[in-house]
Point group: C2
Chain length 418, copies 2
């Protein structure tokens, strides 16, 4: 039985690899037509998708409200999935873009050309919309995709997948172009992660535990972010009203996501003016504050932060606060305790801003804006396939370009090396 | 004792990480001055370097001639090292280059800016010039570097390293900016490869065994190529004289390197015209031919190739030859048996050329030129730090840009997400 599963996973990966060669040579117009048809098919099959989703929801009764919320589809969410495919259809095709072209002294003409990676595996949890988004982005970038969603959303994912696969078949595209591992046997992931001969990259999307597990057992390169410990630093020359708005937004607009603020740093020279009202507002919004000794002196009800609070992604209405001596301490704290995801400085001082932007070692560094903008859509990339806090290949929001590699095409007229 | 070595390696990696922050903010002018001074210092210390090299050579008497040749320095090679540093000094600084800039609908101004990776570890064999090249390229790209050369070149590497470190000290640069692991204990590499908290990328340079070992035990992302099985495909519409020159050059100009031709494919419609003379010329040059049945029919002295011959990097005067039915078979053969390094088509047919360039899944794909041009210098990148057959991050020759990542700088005026 287990041997069968392993063979099955290998067969999927081989088929995906074989299909990738034919995807790489599709024209932009062909891909666009397929994606638009996929969007229409999702809307047409709305009832079937909602029915499948209902099955998943019924099984999830013991789970948290947030969990069920993430899992649940309705008409408007299906519309969003379809809209997302339409917007991917309209995005610029990254494949075959000439990134650079030059001539060498030996008379060769070299082009650096964007090409598909080949086969992309995505391992994700809960949200069924990820299924459609990832199929759309991988297809548009000329890659085969192997999806492995969470068992809690299996019926929804399978129905969405089948609807989209039907469209692929209508266009006579290789079946291996899109794949869903539909067993809930956890061994399937272990097998998948060993297939570096067929799969070019793995993108895990979900909680830190899932991602750690993938990194530990994968022989395939992984692009990932473990967590988002995002900071807002309120500088001594901050516009304090702007700082207040940014901090409230970064913490409260959607506390459960990776680009929400988890830690607020305040320059000591504005702490007395800024913190009393700010802390009170957070308190009234139901936010638990874990602060340094200075913060606690300003508001007695503040809990004293342990060191590990500054390393914690709460994804909840909890905020760590620290008063710092100066900009250097803020930068050092962020680089030491943060997760290299998204960090913001609020200041009117250009020199402080430039220093912060340069020296904070994060994927996205903001001046006078909320960290909540770290997102492929907000960045104008169209849908997003994930956010990377890695430094190799892709950093920050990942969309079509990040799903490509490049190759060098070298045009000669008989040149040989002397 | 072993515990001490582990602590020592961790200390080196930590120092390198700490130093990387200060390297990232050096100006181009500062880096240029240091590199030029390094070049001068190498020439000034020529005698000491040659003396150290002599010690390594004396220990290598049991090794092959090629091995000793790679190890040996002389005045002209030291001059080449110095020239290489001078040319790196003159290359465009990749750090802080704005790769793209745009405004979002929310009024944010986003810059995608090139930044150093942080800490680069390089594990290499034999050639002592790699020491100077890698220090130069990593320093110019704002990265700390940890070098681990082969024990056979330890004295040479150490002397070159000390000369360059002295220059770094003269400019008061952090000692951890450049590091050489100078023990010959093999455990040192194992320890190093676990330090993914401090080291951002490992680049192994050497034989397939070394690289496999690094990949297997590394927790740090690795950029590499295992081997170079490069093909020249002589199309039915090839200029056969050009094909002859290219094949001779690709095989013979330097047979021991990764971009030399290991396998020659010939369209069956030109095989009778092309192969008899070509095979004879290779024979006269001392090349052993391992060919398919068709090839053997053309020249009886040809050895019949086993399947594994087409997967072998000989690095020697041996060539596998195959006659193929058509372009499709040539492409399929290269993608199946090759190493995705460098492959060339010789043809006057534009359609065949375009298909080959598009569908051969290799880092460098050539039309009417020798595969021997796959090289950072030949590509006009200045010195090269290695060649990648990976698809993530860097593919093909790697130099300064490939030693960088990027970050997004986002300039706002108080924007919050709605």
């Amino acid at each position: 039985m287990k041997k069968n599963l392993k063979q099955e996973i290998i067969a999927i990966a081989k088929e995906a690899k074989a299909a990738s060669a034919s995807l790489a040579i599709l024209s932009s117009a062909q891909k666009c037509a397929v994606l638009k048809d996929m969007a229409a098919a999702l809307l047409r099959q709305e009832t079937a998708i909602l029915k499948a989703n209902r099955k998943d929801i019924l099984k999830s009764h013991a789970k948290s409200k947030a969990f069920v919320e993430r899992l649940t589809l309705d008409k408007s969410r299906i519309k969003q999935m379809a809209d997302s495919l339409l917007s991917i259809a309209d995005l610029k095709d990254p494949v075959d873009e000439v990134m650079r072209a030059w001539n060498t002294s030996s008379g060769l003409s070299i082009q650096k050309v964007r090409s598909p990676l080949g086969v992309v595996a995505i391992i994700y949890e809960s949200r069924p919309n990820v299924t459609a988004d990832c199929i759309g982005l991988c297809f548009k970038s000329g890659n085969s995709v192997i999806l492995r969603g969470g068992s809690e959303a299996l019926n929804s994912n399978l129905e969405i997948f089948n609807v989209l696969q039907e469209v692929m078949q209508k266009y006579n595209l290789a079946k291996g172009s899109i794949n869903l591992v539909s067993t809930s046997d956890r061994k399937a992931v272990d097998y998948l992660l060993k297939l570096n001969d067929y799969i070019d990259v793995v993108i895990p999307r979900g909680g830190e535990e899932l991602i750690k597990k993938v990194v530990k057992s994968s022989r395939i390169p992984v692009i990932k972010h473990y967590k988002g410990i995002c900071h807002v630093y309120v500088d001594e020359e901050a516009d304090l009203n702007m700082a207040r708005n940014i901090c409230l937004n970064a913490k409260l607009q959607r506390p459960g996501v990776c680009n929400a603020m988890e830690s607020m740093l305040v320059h000591r020279d504005v702490a007395i003016r800024f913190l009393p009202r700010m802390l009170q507002e957070f308190r009234e919004a139901g936010v638990e504050i874990r602060g340094c000794a200075f913060t606690k002196r300003i508001a007695k009800w503040v809990k004293l932060a342990a060191k590990k609070d500054y390393r914690t992604e709460y994804c909840d209405l909890i905020l760590s606060v620290k008063v710092v001596e100066n900009l250097d301490e803020a930068i050092a704290h962020i680089n030491e305790y943060g997760s290299h995801h998204s960090d913001s400085i609020v200041t009117d001082n250009n020199i402080a801003a430039a220093k912060f932007l340069k020296q904070v070692d994060s994927a996205c560094v903001y001046l006078n804006a909320s960290t909540r903008f770290t997102d492929g859509n907000q960045f104008g990339m169209g849908a997003e396939i994930g956010i990377s806090t890695d430094k190799l290949h892709a950093r920050g929001p990942m969309a079509l370009e990040e799903l490509t590699t490049y190759k060098y095409l070298i045009y000669g007229a008989g040149q040989v090396r002397v």
